[in-house]
Symmetry: D2
Subunit: 439 residues, 4 copies
């Protein structure tokens, strides 16, 4: 009973904090606050920081329901516009359909620290949605508005490309170490190796948040398209002299700002970096990636039905089935054994062949579907070509777990990315001859 009382008190408190915040929001949305309203905006920014989970839930609930467009007004405007699609009607319609929520966020963004506050708000929203997925339906409108606005504010045209090297501020580098998500950086010495002259790192920063990398990519300058990750991230390796650079291999790309989830930055980053490297180093002949295939092992372990892969030729199915069975036989029906280094080390040439063929089919046929490999979908949608599979690309526990050690190169031919992208959207995975032969 005491608990009940406490709970009720807490709820009242939460209610009050949330009510005050709503009031500040209304003030900021009021007519004059477009230009003034510094106080209201700062209050909102400060108050949001202090909300606990329950208060946040109330606040998001209010934003979702109270700050949408007025249904009756929109309907009137839509009817008028449907009757006569004049400019005047269109303007009325656009205004009526715009959720006040967007205007609120825009006004917050106008204040010093506002952009960062909106990012924090979205981080909080995404975090709450993970914990309380039952709100997803109601809060989706907030999420849609946030994504819309952040996409506009973090427009690549407004971002700055920054070369990251050993001359960069330590606090910037510290964030690089922290956010590297693909091949973890093991402290400052490891980072240092990755910034020597035959490695490059570039980040996008936003002018208002310029001490923060938003996203960064790591590149190895090498003589040939790389087949394995270990040599690229070997701490003790000696740097290659520039006259031997031929290939720029993007081997890692990491987002730093969870509040920007869904805002496309990686594709622009890769292309911008490629253009810049080409200009600086005309000796570079190819731009490619060395990428993991995190979806491959999970897919294969689910015993996929090869015949139902979209676009697969009927004639290709039996050989995939044979490959699959070979691996099942090898592992005594326990395919996950292949995720162990011991068994992997004993693979014979035909086992290898079977594994590669299955990976090729997965990437070539499943990628255009939502169930495809996320990394593949990113690069292929970005206009890259499926270039080469590397059987022993990553024999680390993680690499074996994700894809039985297989890695893949995607090739970026800047003259062809638009066409390849269009073909990918039409359901086709553009592939090299080598891969075509394999399939």
């Amino acid at each position: 009973m005491l608990d009940d009382l406490r709970h009720a008190a807490a709820r009242r408190m939460a209610g009050r904090a949330s009510a005050r915040l709503q009031l500040a929001c209304k003030r900021l949305l009021s007519e004059g606050a477009e230009l003034n309203g510094m106080g209201a905006a700062s209050e909102i920014i400060d108050r949001i920081e202090d909300l606990d989970d329950e208060q946040l839930d109330r606040f998001f609930g209010w934003m979702a329901t109270a700050l949408g467009p007025d249904p009756a007004a929109v309907l009137r405007a839509a009817q008028a516009y449907a009757q006569e699609p004049s400019a005047a009607h269109q303007i009325t319609l656009t205004a009526a359909a715009a959720p006040p929520r967007q205007e609120l966020l825009r006004r917050m963004n106008r204040r010093p620290g506002g952009t960062a506050a909106v990012l924090r708000l979205r981080r909080a929203l995404l975090a709450r949605l993970r914990e309380r997925p039952e709100h997803a339906g109601q809060w989706a409108a907030i999420e849609a508005d946030l994504l819309h606005l952040l996409t506009s504010w973090f427009n690549p045209g407004f971002l700055q490309l920054r070369r990251v090297d050993w001359n960069s501020p330590a606090q910037f580098l510290e964030k690089i170490i922290h956010h590297e998500a693909v091949h973890a950086i093991d402290g400052w010495d490891d980072l240092r190796r990755r910034l020597l002259p035959d490695r490059r790192c570039f980040a996008f920063v936003h002018p208002q948040l310029s001490d923060e990398p938003l996203i960064f990519v790591e590149v190895a300058l090498v003589p040939e398209m790389p087949a394995a990750i270990a040599p690229l991230i070997e701490k003790g390796s000696l740097p290659l002299p520039p006259d031997r650079f031929r290939v720029a291999a993007f081997y890692s790309i990491s987002n730093c700002e969870p509040g920007l989830r869904g805002v496309s930055l990686g594709n622009f980053l890769i292309k911008t970096v490629a253009v810049q490297l080409q200009r600086e180093l005309p000796q570079l002949k190819r731009f490619c990636t060395l990428s993991p295939i995190p979806g491959f092992a999970p897919w294969l372990l689910q015993r996929p039905d090869f015949a139902s892969l979209p676009g697969i030729r009927r004639a290709a199915v039996p050989s995939l089935q044979a490959a699959h069975e070979r691996l099942l036989a090898l592992t005594g029906g326990e395919l996950q054994a292949l995720q162990g280094a011991a068994l992997h080390a004993r693979l014979g040439a035909e086992d290898d062949q079977a594994l590669v063929r299955l990976a090729a089919a997965y990437l070539a046929y499943a990628s255009p579907t939502p169930a495809g490999d996320a990394v593949a979908r990113f690069h292929l949608d970005n206009g890259a070509r499926l270039e080469r599979l590397n059987l022993r690309g990553n024999l680390s526990p993680r690499g074996l777990k994700q894809s039985f050690g297989v890695m893949v190169n995607y090739l970026y031919d800047l003259d062809k990315v638009e066409a390849s992208h269009d073909r990918f959207r039409a359901g086709e995975v553009v592939r090299s001859r080598e891969l075509a032969a394999l399939l």
Copy 2:
């Protein structure tokens, strides 16, 4: 006949150029071009540059009609949302109501040089509208979208305040000279005086256009609230030592980018500068303007009906009429004679009083209406207070012409701007005691 043929040929050419441009726009709007589509965007940016007037008209016509939202789709979405205002329906509605035109401009903006191109496009639109006002109705939707997007992109939160001084790049200063619209800068020596330590100049720049001032303000640091402009812009004057600074007087504010018309930057600029000066120079006690009243003479010459001024007390009308008649008598019924220096020099104390009273009434009563003085409306809406009238503030031909030489100080009290703004929006002009007494 030959002319007709030529004309027809020109029209065909224009048609073709315009058709190619429309094609590029459609390509940029096509699904994949969100991420790729560099070519299309560059093509649009280049092509727009080359359009002649007729081609521009065609292009704007197409943008106005072809790139609006789909009336039927919006109507469906609005009906669904009216029936059940769920998040899902709201998202559908927002998407359906968003004109593809906005997305096109957003995609242009993502490219290097895109922001500048969109600004040029709006300059062209505004220029064409001046020449062809008959298009205003149709093109209003384009204009609304451009204003909406530019307001978001030139968000004060994204702008940088830059101190302009004699250490600034010459090319930046050259633009200051060129764009000063209130009290023309007569070459580099004049500018130099305006940048000595008792004068300040600040500009907003956008990170992507950082060599360009967007708007700038000039400030005089003086011992007292200034009553006349001449001493502030006197080329040969000696700088005041900093220990005598008490008042920061904003004496000129000029926009540099016609493509940003209607995007509110001036109000933020004044407040940001006031905060910065207060921090740097704690000895400053007041922040005010010394402003022209460009609407005063035109208003008075139209023989206004004082009794119909909104909010005027009935008892105040006769004294205004008397003042007016006094001036009419003085000028033999030809009030414009007062715009000449000769007559002005002969004004007696009571004539002065009459003139000041009329100016006070104009500013205090007409300002809340659209017919009010534009400068007054800017500062009052910005939360400033009507502080003091200065009869012989500007005896230059321009000053006499605009307002019979009268100038006005508006006072910025940062703690009160929000309240004053609210009162102004409610129709009230906040005024000093001195001015209240005058009325």
Copy 3:
């Protein structure tokens, strides 16, 4: 008599000011002040500023006599070193021979503002020497020490080359306008033309005085070696596109800091700029000057004895005499008439030839002697080659006055400057074939 009293009082005052300054100098030279002595140094720097002419004279007199090395100590050290030239004796000798004056200046230089103060001191010394040449003998030792130290401190290795363009700070550009000594810059518009992309300007700055150009050079990028100055400094000319740049012509070089007279910076500047331009613009094929010959007219007007020109071949003398007589005949014995535009305009082809031949002889034979043309001596000593004479190079009043309108190109071939310099020091003027033929 009153005057005498006043004079005596002034002298006493001067004596006192000077005595206090000497005291501060002694304090700064005292043992501990190497590390501390901030006070003493600042006092000296401040006091020197305030000295009037008489006080300066006293101070310089004291510096000259009281701050030299101790004759007896030096003699002892020199004798010991002569007897046994050991390291120990050498160190003692070096220390004994070093004037305390140098140490004093070094200690001043260690303080904030010290470098600028030493420069002002030298400016004052040079100015006093102009007015009071009778002191030259005594003060020569101060001057020698100042020159020695400034040469070391304004070491080209410590200077920074700065590109000057329309993006440079206005206050820096203002100094460029002010100090241009060869072809005066007529205000900001003129300067602007000289900074367009087919003109270049570079300055040396010192890290401690970085707002000040020390010396700057102006360069025109042109298709051919220029024959006249007017087109290079024509305000209204249109810039040449970069693909037509073939020749970099140094057309003006000006010192900005009189306190650095005699410190060689110009030669390093020209060479550093040439290297930088070559790197930036590989299409440049030649580096040359277009230079005045300020010594030519004065030399010719003094009716030189051609036979005594050093190194002249006897056979060449008669033709020079004939040329001279031709010009005398043309001007009725009043050669200075040729300094007028009117007569110059009437020169015939043979008159031209006579003038050019005389100029060639002057430059080729007189330059290695102190009586030679100062500009020629600068470039030839710097390793340039005498390349081409341009009869109508500068028809401005100044050009006619200096050299009857003749200008000259010196050619910088960076691979040969060292050899040419050595030959010039040996008395030979390296010349082009064309010039050799003329002689």
Copy 4:
């Protein structure tokens, strides 16, 4: 025998390399090379890099003997100057006494990379002298010239003070970690703590070597004069809020460039930093150090004769002897046992007192002599005051070894440093009342 042959061959090679280098030096010293001579200078810079030990020895031998002043010429000049100390004779003398070696180094310094090359040369010289002390006599003249020139080039007036913080380039910070000589920095996390807002670090850099710290100092901002080092360098400690800063404690100062040994930078650095901190943080009331006493234990272990300490009062001797005997008794005559933590932990109050008294006597009486503690001599000569002894200041093995754990605070009172310095030079150690009482 084969070895002998090899040896002879190597000697010939060394001879040749050295001969070529000498030739380049002579060329650079030749008349014209002042302005040109780029080739010669670069050749020297390159060649010196490649010399092995034997070649270096030859080269230094040659520099020592061949590049001194000409004894006969100096003697003549000294005699003339002794007879008549005129300016002309003085100039001749200065020129004659200047070793050509200095001019050679100056010309090297003029080239890009020259300053760094001269620093490397001195590092090599100092290293060779450590290995071959028998050369010291002969090479002393080179060393004297290098020190003279480097002192002039690394003039504090030419150096830039740079704040080092977590925003500094990683490569700069890496050098800080590497060169910290007093309290080693244990990796990046340790460094990070030392750069939080209540710690400061400042370095001097030279404009031509700006990626290199020359010397740096670490400062702790604390509420009271610190008595022990451990809390200041504790990695996990929380930063103090700025409103509690009262004392700036310099707890470490390290040189980074061995080639600058003997060039006084530390004293300027401390004072410059103190001035800057005082300006930034007016709440700071005291500037002091927390310093080791590395000479104390070695001095005490040698059983010093207290009566012969310079300046000691006779009456003070017995109590020092008593203190000494107490410690001897405590350690069974093996004083070094006190360098162990175990015995130290058992010290009683009177033992403490004995130890402190001995340390006080050592610092107060021995410091003015060359045998005094080096750190004490640095700070006292720099004008600091002997302020307080801290018995358990540093209980690390190193602290116990150096000084039985005792540390000392020196106080910097900027208004008194000059006077204190003068008194120190006169043999007196300025001390606090507390320390005076102890003595």
